[in-house]
């Protein structure tokens, strides 16, 4: 989709992806799969056969690879929305500090220290 520079949302905030219509369209299948993880039966089905579960939801190759790699930044790039991705992270028992560390190249402890440093 072409960019629409006249719109309010088209500004650059470093390290931040604005989840707008463009991202929502790109990530629809991925987010729909992650939304399904609200239900325990779907979390179990994913754990039992990740490839089949991704296929069922129609993920594209980029999304599948980012899921396989547990690559949070890659999932955002592929259209993932953090609120749904949080449910994916939950399957592995990851906290938002773990996920923050993964995205910023910090250990979880380093990420917690960074949060505290802003007090």
């Amino acid at each position: 989709m072409a960019d629409m520079p006249a719109f309010d949302y088209h500004i650059d905030i470093p390290g931040t992806t604005i989840f707008d219509g463009k991202q929502a369209m790109k990530g629809y299948a991925l987010n729909k799969m992650c939304y399904s993880f609200n239900k325990a039966e779907n979390r179990e089905a994913f754990k039992a056969d990740e490839e089949a579960f991704m296929e069922k939801y129609g993920l594209n190759d980029q999304q599948k690879q980012a899921i396989r790699d547990r690559n949070v930044l890659g999932l955002i790039e592929a259209g993932g929305n953090i609120y749904y991705l949080a449910k994916f992270a939950g399957i592995f028992g990851l906290s938002v500090q773990d996920v923050g560390g993964l995205q910023t190249g910090r250990s979880t402890e380093e990420f917690k220290d960074y949060l505290k440093s802003q007090a």
């Binding site: 989840f19 949080a86 449910k87 910023t104 802003q118």
Partner: protein, 283 residues
């Protein structure tokens, strides 16, 4: 006619639910956060609201991207707390107030706000955690008011503007004040915020200076905050700091004349700058 007693805001971080379950009130990490609530408890005990309007943002439990309402109002007899994907124990359902819900919906649509009405609406931590904080033991607190949930979209841009959020609250005020139940006492919650960002290379971003600016102005000068554009809000409050819109909606419902009863601000709780504010409406 009904009366609006006041408004209370709080962050609604999922980890708080866990801390409540484990009773970590005196834990060194949690104490500065939980210390913000005893004055709120006293105020609630003194005032005993009959109804609570809970303005929050759904995080992918009640709504998916297939149909994403900008403003949704619950109109159910009860609201179920369901698994958000983390397997945490769910609370029992919260009692609704469908007659008040439909009164609000009728009034606000007549006032030209386009509302999505919801006869079923599972509620997530955004709704539940503030209830637990304000009415310990919720929904089984002896004074638990009946509730109307209102959810605004902050999941997917375009999100509402700050001006729209404040105007929404002002229209909600008109609706509440015209509710015909004699002497009904209503409290309005605005939940979420303050600055935080969960996603991207900027994850962990917190902005104390901006939060303090918002806290200062929302009490007596909320119109000043409508000058903040949505992108500026993302830039200064973080991608999820856009939840400040709920505070603006709450503030609009209180009218011009308010008194600040208590305020708390603490960094960090989980990834978030946690804020609490209690504003009482003039009698």
């Amino acid at each position: 006619m009904a009366k609006i007693l006041g408004g209370i805001t709080t962050s609604h971080i999922p980890a708080v639910g866990n801390a409540i379950q484990k009773e970590l009130y005196d834990d060194p990490y949690w104490k500065p956060f939980f210390d913000g609530y005893p004055k709120v408890h006293k105020w609630i005990q003194d005032n005993k609201p009959d109804y609570v309007i809970n303005i929050y943002n759904d995080h992918g439990l009640g709504f998916f991207l297939d149909r994403m309402p900008t403003f949704a109002i619950g109109a159910a007899h009860e609201y179920k707390n369901e698994d958000e994907g983390w397997g945490l124990p769910s609370l029992d359902p919260f009692p609704g107030a469908p007659e008040l819900s439909w009164h609000i919906i009728e009034s606000m649509v007549a006032d030209e706000f386009d509302i999505t009405s919801c006869q079923e609406l599972p509620v997530d931590h955004g709704f539940v955690v503030p209830m637990q904080l304000f009415w310990p033991g919720a929904p089984h607190h002896p004074d638990m008011p009946k509730t109307v949930p209102i959810s605004a979209n902050t999941v997917q841009h375009p999100i509402p503007t700050l001006k729209r959020a404040l105007d929404f609250g002002r229209s909600l005020r008109k609706a509440l004040l015209s509710f015909p139940e004699k002497d009904a006492k209503i409290v309005v919650l605005g939940t979420g915020g303050l600055s935080h960002q969960l996603d991207g290379q900027r994850a962990g971003f917190i902005n104390k200076e901006f939060d303090q600016y918002c806290l200062e102005n929302i009490v007596h000068n909320p119109d000043e905050l409508t000058k903040i554009s949505r992108m500026e809000l993302v830039e200064k409050a973080g991608a999820q700091g856009t939840e400040f819109l709920m505070w603006m909606m709450m503030r609009g419902a209180l009218g011009d004349d308010v008194t600040e009863i208590t305020r708390n601000y603490h960094i960090p709780i989980s990834n978030t700058a946690a804020g609490t504010l209690l504003l009482e409406c003039a009698a």
